[in-house]
Symmetry: C2
Subunit: 224 residues, 2 copies
DNA sequence: CTCGTAAACGGAGGCAGCCTCCGGTTGTAT
DNA sequence: ATACAACCGGAGGCTGCCTCCGTTTACGAG
């Protein structure tokens, strides 16, 4: 039932131009009942997403949590924010893992990270499609994971084992791309690994090339 | 009452068990009015997809074509079939293009093909997400494009400039994935090209490695 | 030209999901 | 005990999907 979902289209009628779309839901200073409901919602969401993929019905999530739909939207104004909160814990342990190995280059570590990230993006069917938005949602877990990845990339580049022109955005792109691609054709579960390895090999190959004087066109591509 | 999903269940009394869900709409033996409507639908769809992306409302398409919604669904039972028909022509010219160059290896040709395919998958915003389904829809254009790609890959592999373990599925996966990922973060329009290039470099690198005796771990990754 | 028939049309209607809004409820500080 | 801000909950309005079936129309035979 691959019903494609639509963007949240703000129609018109600017009754009250909300300049702050919403005060950030909250940290930990919630009233007791609110915190309780938040927990239930997260648990319910986790269940629903696991069962129906990232497009599970919001109403269903609220129902599972035995909570009004209004409550859900107050805690998590968008589907993405709910997704982000759901994977937050996973991201945190993810960021804290030690990716280096006694033997092996930094490029290898980056490869392992990339592979794990792609796997992580497949936690729920359809998660990958939102991973970009999720990672940009600015939760501690997202920051931590990004920081870790960036560190790995930088160090591999410093070591010279990875192309200096790649930026972390490319890596994230690639991870989500691979996750996306493989979950579209789940026939071959090895494909993800194969693709990751090819990508990392590509990074390596360019690392060698980039020290030759031939490539000068690519210098100006530095921004972000 | 958690009746969540309703299948399209024939209500009751299975008078005629439809084994073929629907006879394939038709080739060119349509009644005059039918053919006319088909054309209008395609034009309308093209417009709507261009404007709203691949998730444009079906009702809107019908309305633009000045045709009942029922007519739309008779001609194109699913959104994907409509998408496929919409890009059909493009795929045909795509398949017929000459990808080789006087100078340059077959791997280069494959790279150009891949890049173009990724670009093609971005014809409409959101097209890439369905490209897998679309390519599997079996229209002449899809067959032609697949055949062309497969030929390029095979010949690059025969020439030894590309890893023999990659299959065409990998290539399609990567093209759609790159298109998908990059259109999620359209900040850097150069990213798609960079990623494609890295991927092709990866294919090349493995081509070299695969003949050395050092890699034994990669041997068993032979299937399909 | 006239019919008869199958092919094609079209849109009402039922359903699901999204999200807002606001009257009612409840935790908590004093 | 009281007050009030924070929070709850779900009805309701809206959009989009897709089926079903009565009506219209093309077109081949006579």
């Amino acid at each position: 039932m691959p019903t494609i979902r639509k963007a949240p289209t703000k129609s018109s009628g600017p009754s009250t131009l909300r300049e702050s779309p919403a005060p950030p839901p909250s940290p930990q200073t919630l009233r007791a009942d609110a915190r309780r409901n938040r927990e239930r919602l997260l648990a319910a969401a986790s269940e629903a997403f696991a069962e129906h993929g990232a497009t599970a019905s919001m109403d269903d999530v609220a129902k599972r949590a035995k909570v009004g739909i209004g409550t859900l939207y107050r805690h998590f104004p968008t589907r993405e924010s709910l997704l982000a909160a759901t994977v937050e814990d996973g991201l945190l342990v993810f960021a804290d893992r030690d990716w280096s190995r006694p033997s092996g280059s930094s490029a290898d570590a980056l490869g392992r990270f990339l592979e794990a990230l792609a796997a992580h993006a497949s936690t729920y069917r359809g998660l990958a499609a939102s991973l970009g938005v999720v990672l940009a949602s600015g939760t501690p877990g997202c920051h931590a994971a990004s920081a870790t990845g960036e560190r790995l990339l930088k160090s591999a580049q410093a070591e010279g084992s990875v192309d200096r022109h790649a930026d972390f955005g490319d890596v994230v792109c690639m991870a989500t791309a691979i996750a996306l691609a493989t979950q579209q054709t789940p026939s071959d579960p090895e494909r993800a690994k194969r693709l990751v390895r090819m990508f990392v090999d590509g990074l390596r190959a360019r690392a060698k090339v980039s020290s030759s004087p031939a490539s000068k066109k690519q210098r100006e591509r530095r921004r972000h």
